[in-house]
């Protein structure tokens, strides 16, 4: 009986050690990763893009944040948004380029009832690693909002 108790005690200690070691592998993300996502988001919004204007002599150069605002205003006015499609593809490639190779991304812009989503929607909220890794940037007093999420 005593032998069995001693054996079980030592086995329990070993098990606890192993479980503790394994659980440390999935600890909370470090500050560097949060900082990276925040920086990447700032870079995306500051980048200038060229929107081809079919009926005007000069193409419009604007920041990504201004372009998205123009996109939402065009939708709101019921205007044709085809001219935005190529530049939205460019923005997708840009975000892919800034996303680490191991990560997925989802970039969303919100304006009133409208929403623009680029990237993937996390299929299972539990699998988002970590769900808190995102950067949210409100513009125009929060009327226009951008959110960048990355997960493994």
């Amino acid at each position: 009986m005593l032998d069995a108790m001693i054996f079980l005690t030592v086995a329990a200690i070993v098990s606890i050690s192993l479980v503790s070691a394994a659980s440390n592998q999935h600890s909370e993300p470090n500050v560097d990763l949060r900082e990276y996502v925040g920086r990447a988001h700032g870079v995306i919004l500051r980048t200038t893009v060229q929107l081809e204007m079919p009926r005007e002599s000069n193409n419009a150069w604007m920041t990504v944040s201004d372009l998205v605002m123009s996109y939402f205003l065009a939708i709101d006015r019921g205007e044709d948004i085809d001219s935005f499609e190529p530049i939205l593809e460019d923005i997708t490639q840009m975000i892919e380029g800034l996303t680490p190779s191991w990560a997925h991304f989802c970039w969303t812009a919100f304006y009133g009832p409208y929403e623009l989503l680029i990237g993937e929607v996390p299929s299972n909220s539990e699998s988002v690693w970590p769900s808190s890794i995102f950067s949210e940037m409100p513009i125009l007093g929060g009327e226009l909002r951008f959110k960048l999420e990355m997960w493994s």
Partner: protein, 133 residues
Amino acid sequence: MGGFIEAILAIMIVTSGLILLTFSFYLVAIDDEVDSDLDGRCEELIDLVLDDDSIMVEPGVIRHSALGKIDFSKIDIENGFKLVIDEISPEFTIVLGGRGTYSEGERCCLSVPVNVYHAPKDVRPALLRAWTW
């Protein structure tokens, strides 16, 4: 009596397992220290650019025309390194500086998203990358 010997044997096996486990963690810790040293050098190179106000338009935005003014003499890195800017759209790589050629051994890379300011209407996304070995 037989049960006692079996218990002692079991304890010896478990103890040897614990010793092996501890030794493994010790080796991992040593490896982390090496990585940490390389990480530190990468951060030093990245900060050399990001903390230099003479080449920054604003925090996170590097002036393209000032890239040749980076002063590598400010840092003391004896080992090999390479510092580049990878512009993403359009794709373009600018080598800012380096020393030596990587052949084998530990190598560390650190990437930081930045904008490169070419002109008032031409601000591009990029990754500022540092390698040390």
